[in-house]
């Protein structure tokens, strides 16, 4: 605590002395400020260089994937970053050697249905838990605790449950599993959005005669719409990207999702790296478009939960 006060007062001193020093520099002060200015410039340049390196690292694999997708079969073996000549043929060929569009369709169906299910469960439940303490203190704790268990724990039991329900190897079954799996994430994200709402608005709605359900549908839902959209998108992406359940609960191309399709394509002994890169990029494109389009909401959604 002592240190923080020290630091704050030293900031006040440097802050107040900097202005007169610049207005009326004496010789000694001038060289001092020139020195600090040089240090500061170096510091800023160093920072930018570091950030550039960081960005370079995080974009490198995507860039190399893109570059590989434009290489010929022989060029792939060169180990160079850039293709020797641009070879577009991998892209149409990728669509021919793997049923990309079918896999993507399956992924979108499973992800869409599951996100809908997650929101239908999580929005009313979170509202009831946050505002009315429904389910008591333990329900909320239990929801979050269930997320700490690795999904592999539920894998074998769910496999038998789906088989009994005749939902094994079906998109409905997969969507059901995803929908339930993502509920803790959704509750956790929605919680902070609901808490931020002033209770007075809801109280006013009740005075006007709206019931609890009416208030949720007509007042609360529109007000937390950004939170619901962010939550929905995060659940969509989680389901679209999921692999463990998809690879164990589906078997036919008609039900397999994109990550499974790509993983199987990769496992092929005669895999063509150029085509594999093109197929992977095609599968990543929808997520990237959503991420870039909704980046503000996504970042807010991802961070509000953690920074409570």
């Amino acid at each position: 605590m002592m240190d923080s006060r020290e630091a704050r007062s030293s900031a006040a001193i440097t802050g107040s002395s900097a202005v007169p020093a610049r207005a009326l520099p004496s010789v000694a002060e001038h060289s001092a400020t020139a020195q600090t200015r040089a240090v500061r410039a170096l510091w800023i340049a160093g920072r930018w260089l570091l950030l550039a390196l960081v960005i370079g690292f995080f974009l490198l694999p995507i860039a190399f994937l893109a570059s590989t997708s434009l290489k010929t079969k022989d060029d792939v073996l060169s180990g160079n970053f850039l293709p020797a000549t641009i070879f577009w043929q991998n892209w149409p060929d990728a669509f021919r050697s793997i049923e990309l569009l079918l896999f993507m369709r399956n992924s979108v169906i499973a992800a869409g249905l599951s996100a809908l299910l997650t929101l239908l469960i999580a929005v009313p439940a979170t509202y009831a838990m946050v505002r009315f303490g429904a389910g008591g203190k333990h329900l909320y704790t239990f929801v979050l605790a269930s997320y700490t268990a690795p999904p592999v724990v539920a894998l074998v039991p769910l496999f038998f449950l789906l088989r009994r329900l005749n939902l094994i190897d079906s998109l409905i079954g997969l969507a059901l599993v995803y929908g339930l799996a993502n509920v803790p994430v959704a509750v956790w994200l929605l919680d902070s959005f609901i808490r931020q709402l002033p209770q007075a608005i809801e109280e006013a709605a009740w005075v006007d005669g709206a019931g609890i359900a009416g208030t949720l549908v007509r007042i609360v839902t529109p007000l937390i719409a950004p939170g619901i959209v962010a939550t929905g998108i995060i659940c969509l992406i989680l389901s679209y990207n999921e692999f463990l359940f998809a690879v164990t609960l589906t078997y036919r191309p008609e039900t397999q999702t994109l990550p499974v399709g790509i993983a199987l394509f990769q496992g092929d002994r005669l895999v063509n790296f150029g085509q594999m890169a093109a197929a992977s990029l095609t599968g990543m494109a929808p997520v990237y478009i959503v991420a870039l389009f909704f980046q503000r909401w996504l970042i807010r959604g991802l961070t509000t939960g953690a920074v409570k």
């Binding site: 694999p61 724990v153 894998l155 990769q266 953690a306």
Partner: protein
């Protein structure tokens, strides 16, 4: 005031609607958490194959086998050895980058948007990208190493006992460090600006001020990020499946992958159930101290 007392009783859990609203959640939890747990306990006490379950009761037999099975116990050790250090490195690097970023006025938004991409990439495609980089023939890393004259023969990173595990860790670092950066950056923004200004005046004294001022304030948030990352790191499966399939040998065979292999490749689901329960307990044992530490930090600093 009159209004408040008139309405306040309705903010209670006793009505019909609040109960109706949590009912689907409770049903969902029953299907996804309660039922699997009960089913696993029974399954683990039985001799069961994927095609024919509950052939005989074996009591604790599967657990005894599990604890004596070095392939399994080593997989558990590997899960911990993966989750904890990888998380520590990611949190350290992520917080460092977030601090760097919070000192930069321009370009912050562009940076945060670009950094979102690794996080959003399907893990199987993360594996594809890194496979291309690590590949012995035509891989970028081998290309660079050879052109720098550091190696004369291409290294099969994913096929070597020495490099396969670090290679998976690098792919995981690439995917998840952005998450830490975003969370740490958001936490930094919640600090009062005067404290931040004080803490980050300039280079030399900035480092000291950061350690003694910002870091303690950030403590509880960092513990939460660490906890979340450890939990997620124990779930890793896709990267192992796609990059090494547990190999070479069993060198990258971690808990999740071992359970998957036992249930869906060797079809011994009774044994897999026992392994699952032991693995679940292990995850609890590792994460619980972090929960306790975080709660202690919150009590200590606020």
């Amino acid at each position: 005031m009159v209004l408040r007392t008139a309405v306040a009783p309705r903010f209670s859990s006793r009505g019909l609607w609040p109960r109706l609203m949590v009912a689907p959640l409770i049903i969902g939890l029953t299907i996804f958490a309660v039922y699997p747990l009960i089913y696993l306990v029974f399954l683990s006490a039985s001799k069961s194959a994927l095609g024919r379950t509950f052939q005989a009761w074996v009591g604790l037999g599967n657990y005894r086998t599990a604890l004596e099975d070095t392939v399994f116990t080593q997989a558990l050790v590997r899960s911990v050895v993966f989750a904890v250090p990888v998380t520590a490195i990611e949190v350290l690097a992520g917080v460092g980058i977030a601090v760097l970023l919070s000192n930069t006025r321009r370009g912050g938004n562009v940076f945060r948007t670009l950094i979102l991409l690794p996080l959003m990439t399907p893990p199987i495609m993360v594996a594809t990208s890194w496979k291309l980089i690590f590949h012995p023939t035509g891989g970028l890393l081998n290309g660079v190493l050879q052109s720098l004259g550091l190696t004369d023969r291409p290294i099969s990173f994913l096929g070597s006992s020495r490099w396969a595990f670090p290679a998976i860790a690098v792919a995981d670092f690439w995917q998840w460090t952005p998450f830490v950066i975003l969370l740490a950056y958001a936490s930094l923004q919640t600090l009062p600006s005067e404290v931040q200004e004080a803490a980050l005046v300039d280079g030399a004294s900035g480092v000291r001020a950061f350690v003694s001022v910002t870091l303690p304030l950030l403590g509880p948030a960092l513990a939460a990020i660490f906890l979340l990352r450890v939990i997620l790191a124990f779930k890793v499966f896709d990267l192992v499946y796609s990059l090494t399939f547990g190999g070479p040998g069993f060198d990258t065979n971690i808990g999740t992958f071992q359970i998957f292999r036992m249930a869906f490749r060797q079809f011994d689901v009774g044994y897999a159930a026992a392994q699952t329960i032991v693995f679940g307990l292990l995850v609890g044992v590792v994460t619980l101290p972090i929960v306790i530490a975080r709660n202690a930090m919150i009590r200590h600093w606020t």
